[in-house]
Symmetry: D3
Subunit: 287 residues, 6 copies
């Protein structure tokens, strides 16, 4: 008898209570960071998502694609300029952003997932006007085609989920002026999760979660109330990368999502570890 196989069976059986808990639930995953770059991590996320779908969970993936965009812009000798962490996006840049996000990054994720189960369907904010955007206005600088979410028309997502598919969403919105807008994918994920009344919103990042004191690795926060989370946002202690994620968590919880998570996506199978273990991983914020 193969000892390995016995262990295998036992581990499957240990997953049962978690499978039962999340059966039929919707989980929105903001995909990003190294988990979108490293080949092994990409494979790991893809299989995690297919597995989730097959055991009865409805995963929905939202992604941006900053590094890829910058890479291609440089190749095309375009200037890359950021103001307050937001990419200044002229018309030509916006066109490029969209081509990269929708025509490259999105379809790569779709392809990776479909390799393990023919379930992924890529959509952008254009499709059935999923993400209606408006220009994001800063007092003293014109960011160009940087937008914020005005409305989510979630019908296309609900139909795709119902039809047995997993939507993979590129964070590009469409304005009522017909223009495309580049929107921070963290915020899109929060709005999508709220519109779908998702059970969970999970951010895959490159750090282990939130720290009380970022310099002290032992101060990782494993659980946080929405109230404490709001205080954290106000405190000014969060850095530029983490702030939109934490704000997005708060936004989603206020919109009816039950739990938001910040995970270290550089850990193999971080999604499964969060969902299929008692202790979970990373930081969980409870609405």
């Amino acid at each position: 008898m193969n000892v390995n196989n016995v262990l295998r069976a036992e581990i499957l059986v240990h997953a049962l209570p978690y499978i039962k808990e999340y059966y039929g639930k919707t989980i929105v995953i903001k995909y990003g960071g190294n988990a979108m770059i490293d080949e092994k991590l990409k494979e790991s996320v893809a299989t995690d998502i297919v597995l989730m779908k097959y055991v009865g969970i409805n995963p929905v993936v939202v992604h941006g694609g900053g590094p890829e965009i910058t890479k291609i812009m440089k190749k095309m000798k375009k200037d890359v300029k950021f103001v307050k962490g937001l990419r200044v996006t002229d018309k030509e840049t916006m066109e490029l952003v969209k081509m990269v996000l929708v025509g490259k990054v999105n379809k790569e994720i779709v392809g990776l997932i479909n390799h393990h189960g023919r379930i992924a369907v890529g959509v952008s904010g254009d499709d059935a006007e999923l993400i209606v955007a408006r220009k994001f206005v800063l007092p003293d600088v014109d960011l160009g085609f940087v937008g914020e979410v005005e409305k989510i028309n979630s019908k296309i997502l609900e139909k795709l989920i119902n039809d047995g598919f997993t939507p993979i969403i590129a964070s590009v919105g469409v304005g009522s002026d017909g223009e495309s807008y580049n929107i921070n994918a963290d915020l899109v994920a929060a709005e999508i999760a709220a519109a779908l009344k998702a059970d969970k919103l999970i951010f895959l990042t490159d750090v282990d979660g939130l720290y009380k004191d970022f310099t002290d690795k032992s101060s990782l926060i494993s659980e946080l109330s929405l109230k404490k989370c709001d205080e954290f946002i106000e405190s000014g202690k969060l850095d530029e990368g983490m702030l939109p994620k934490v704000k997005s968590c708060a936004r989603a919880l206020k919109g009816g999502v039950k739990k938001a998570h910040i995970l270290n996506g550089t850990i193999l199978h971080s999604l499964l570890l969060e969902i299929f273990t008692d202790e979970g991983i990373g930081t969980m914020i409870i609405g």
Copy 2:
């Protein structure tokens, strides 16, 4: 990071191709032998079945209950008599058999499974006349209320499966005369599998499978064609315990079932090992 958890996640992911393969398929399991006696094995079978249901497979369980019946008959000081491996069953014995199978053994299995997921519903041949029986006639001896399957009215099973339940079937049939008949559970399992056009029929036994030569443990047969299986039956080499199982395999395959398996149910999680590993375990007969 908990190493154990990482392994756990990887093993879940390795199950994915098998989950996909059996998604929506019906698997009939003839439950019996030590797997129905040993506490740890009972738990193991129960969890395996709930897990199968949650990952999208439709398990259907058929059971007898010989040892339990004999135990209670002895307690009640009734004589136990067998002819050609079949229990001579007078009216009073039949009543006892039914009470034990339907009122004790069946509900114990139901309870064990429901402990892990509220999905099990016990049925006997009486319910919606699932198993219509006729008297099994031997030329020179009257076995009493020993029957064989005349017809399976599978509607109740199809509805229960469709409604999200797992039927647990006690092998008692009802005659057109209104009498109850004790039917070999192996044969019932085969007829149920054929009526449901199941993908697989699995026999949980106390041995590792079929052997070319029973005295030579190295001669275990891992795969067998239906044709070879028929020759085996004709050969006279099979003992009294194995013969009805092998005949039932052949019967099921001829009735449209794709594969029949004889497994060692004394191995923990033998069902998962068969379904979720490439090599499988035991003997597989292909239709």
Copy 3:
């Protein structure tokens, strides 16, 4: 022309307003007393139930089986002991109770009904955890495995009704400890009726109904308000057999059932007489 047939046709036509009134309604029947012993009465109840189903009513049957249990216990030389009308039930007795109720009494009712129409499916509290029980605790005596209803998981009943079947329920509950509990069938019937929001709950008893003064046969009460019923319960006038039935009526009405009835089940076709005649029979309590 056959005069008999003309009468037959006219009587069918006279049933029409009643058929219309109860079309699609759920009626829970507590089956017991002589109607469960006398062969002719058993046939009569079985046909009444099948007829109800075919003319569009949804009957649901709940039964106990006291006399049968006592008979078999005596046969097995077990002591039979009652405290305050409740059977003291040690572990071995409980096992026996369950075998008799589920494996004998229940399946006999199922068989009788199916003889007239293949619609009956037997269930006990174990199936899909229909009846969750807890130990019934008396201050000064341990009754053993005597239980009361903690929760009804009615999904299995709703699905069976919807699928065109008639559930026949044995009054055995399952505890969260996995143990079986013997529960008074009157109380189970009331809880089932409340959980299903039944239109009617009918008790088949061996008397004509409730009497103002039990010694005066002319004082039969044909109709009673819930308020008066509660006063009756408080009055202390009800005997040990009738008290749980009347309490169960009150419980069901408070749980949303519209009408509760106490009928004389020793009258042939008492169910049809209640449902298909203007005057009805027995005592009706209105919520």
Copy 4:
């Protein structure tokens, strides 16, 4: 105890096997003769039809209205002229025929039935072009707007039946020329029954059925094969009133209807007598 009620219950129970036999079946009834004139018979037919619907049968009624038409024509001093049993129908007569059949006779039947159960919906050949007609051409005489069935568009009937209604059909057809045509209701009933693949087609007439020898009342034929029926038609023995009925029976059976019946509609509840008794009444022709 009311003796009458007991009988009532027993008779209901005796109807059960017939209710089971016809559950979900479609029965087309050609309504006519005295059953359409006599008040008591009209009530009797109306209740029979509602009862059939409530016990799960799908009755469909087809009617003409010859006597009523003649009565009104006379009132309006129009000449009434018949050739070979067919009413010569000029344009003005056709208009009158339609007003009487659709606006008077049909709605009276609808009203009578709805009085006992709100299920009847009147339709004529115009509605959703149910009955497409063509002119019936005789070699030497122009009958005007007398038609025959060209096509039945049964969708409207199937939808009404499915929605829980009972269609009452006036035998008026619509030509591809937009004109209305008067069609023999017997033939319409046969075509409707064939289009619906009805289980039974029943003709309500004023006689007991077919006779071997019409002058010998003891020669009533209770059962007839389609082959014998065809021979009968050829024999020339059938009178002008019976011939179209017998021809229509043959037509329906050839179109897939299982049984055709010629009943005496002047017997109260003749429909129930045919359907709910073993011996039935009248003449049955088997396809």
Copy 5:
């Protein structure tokens, strides 16, 4: 290239916003006046209705038939008598009214529409007791069988609409006494529209709409609030023909209909002009 065709395409495209606006909405049309007499107008209304159905709108037609009734009554030498604009209707007249409305006028409309698309099904108040009526009582004169609406049983309409049909309704009601009642079709249209929670109720009349001052053709009112409409009714300025229509508009709006319209039905395609142009035609009253 055919210039005409290009124009044709462009006009189709211009209809798109209107098609979108009314997609899936219910519009009740009171059909009457010259639009029911003139051959060309009749064709125009029929095609408009079929087109509405095919582009996703659910039209429902209600009609009376005064002029046709009077014509036939005269032909039959019956006296025609009106009191306060209401036809005195004795039993014989009522029978005639019904024959004309249901058997002639209704089926003519059905036929005209079906000529362009097999969708029309005629119903009267009798069918499934769509229109339950009671006698309309005036203090000092007995109008006979003139009724008012007591209740609308809209199930038959909802089912027909859902099944893809367009109901054409004759304004005849049925009393709880089984008698037929002649009801003003304007009022029936209002009650039907309210029962169906229609989006629009449209009256086809012979004038352009409501005028502030009827003698001044330039004073046509194009839009009116419900409040103003009520004042108008109170003002006494409305003539006998217009009053019931305006009252019906008010009644419908109070019953939940969104908009009521009074159009000139003598304009070809007046329905399409109202629905498919920005300015609409006639007078619109808003609830």
Copy 6:
């Protein structure tokens, strides 16, 4: 009265027979040529498609994007090289092709259509593995990632159509090796039409259709049999641009599509002109 509006209404009514004819039918449109470049033509196609959807037709759009790709390649200073009309596509070019087709051209079409009705959803061959491709192998030259259709997984299209959406398909396929392949959009359109058993396949081109003799503008062929079409293909008379279209027509007809059309997409509303006029436009090939 606005004369224009009357004409408008009449033209709508004239469209009715065509709306009826194509109700519920699937029409695959290969979008390309000037109709994809000229702003006015783009608007015209977008409105035509939304109108088709709203009047009950199911349009499906397939597009390539050659000129846009070449434009961007030049901008990026990539060499553009064609062999036998096929773009030599190295890995980097393929990435660019995909970004342009999926991230730019596809979403522009989606946006244009959604501006008139929120129905368009963009998909590429990646989504749910809609288009499985294999490398297109020429004997003596390696074209790189130029592919041909191996299989169409049409489930995603069927679900989207059923859910009320209009799929817009970019002609990029995915190989079983996970690589993307550039496939001629004409061939993709043909395979999609065949897989969907479409009623029509329409090619929007820059010419009026097929000519017997291309130099003689009077020799336009308005109708062609599949047989003649095959002869035409063999004849060698077709130029490089038209050949794949004509071959694709033949392929689609052989795959079960009823009619294929080659239209001049530079005519405004060419789609409506083809569908909503008797004479149609361009060349029709009949299967």
